[in-house]
């Protein structure tokens, strides 16, 4: 009699466990899908700071970035990209690509004081990134060309604030 009761309990418990496992696995799959979308296809990023004025606002914009084209080497001149900062790996910076490998470019050494200029050639596998706001941007003029592998995404659209919705070109 007792054994029968234990058996029926076991059956009940098994049913509950199966159900719980099914629910948990659905949630886990969903989280995995979110991660893959966010890492490999498209994600939204909140960017702020003065370095990309006037393209991006000072107070903070939400932009959509896609993570496909940099994996296939399809980053071109003039693209706004998300780059892991070479000085602090925990920070991401948004800059514009101004030179690809092999390009020779000249920039003003210090735009505030004078017009002395420096000329560089971007080495193999590197890109030259610069903010649109020459006066308040820490970029390749300070830390030199950055490796292509530090690029993490290409900005596509601005989605917030709504009145500025549109492509970033």
């Amino acid at each position: 009699m007792n054994a029968m009761r234990v058996l029926s309990y076991m059956k009940q418990w098994r049913g509950t466990a199966k159900e719980a496992f099914a629910h948990v696995s659905i949630v886990a799959k969903f989280l995995c899908l979110l991660h893959v979308t966010d890492r490999y296809i498209i994600s939204s990023t909140h960017v702020q700071g003065p370095s990309m004025l006037p393209t991006l606002n000072l107070t903070g914009d939400v932009i959509l970035t896609e993570h496909l084209s940099h994996r296939f080497g399809r980053i071109g001149l003039g693209d706004v990209v998300l780059v892991r900062s070479p000085r602090d790996p925990k920070r991401m910076v948004t800059k514009r690509i101004l030179g690809l490998e092999g390009h020779r470019l000249t920039f003003a050494a210090d735009p505030v004081v004078g017009d002395s200029s420096v000329s560089v050639v971007v080495p193999k596998g590197h890109v030259w990134i610069q903010g649109d706001n020459l006066y308040a941007s820490t970029d390749s003029r300070h830390f030199g060309p950055v490796p292509y592998n530090l690029i993490e995404g290409k900005a596509l659209l601005r989605v917030w604030p709504p009145e500025c919705f549109g492509s970033l070109r």
Partner: protein, 153 residues
Amino acid sequence: MGIQNLLWQVAKKSFTGSIIGLTISDRCCSVVPVRGDSMSPTFNPQKNSYLDDYVLVDKFCLKDYKFARGDVVVFGSPTHYRDRYIKRIVGMPGEWISSSRDVIRVPEGHCWVEGDNKTSSLDSRTFGPIPLGLIQGRVTRVVWPPQRLGKIS
């Protein structure tokens, strides 16, 4: 009808499997082969063996980018964007390194990597210090071939 159903089931299963696999390999750990003999006493000790070592790469260290001198890391090549290298961290930011030509200071946010096999290794002695942001994980142990299974020093 039956065949179509089966194909659909297989496609669904493989899609789910691949996204779970990708997530695990990005967030927690992955297994990568070691090519070449640039890390020779540690990985691929026999020359010209057709069996490459496979190593387990821990990804949890990417949360705060904390590394120590002596860690073996996987990083994206600074010169060829498709390649990945496995090397040992020899110098941390702020330290002084004597390379073949002169003594240089490793800049902030960078590290100095070198292979264990100094004679045939393409490393920081060629391309200079690399940004910590290029690092994709820390190698913790060898998982294949089975007789070499074990932690690395």
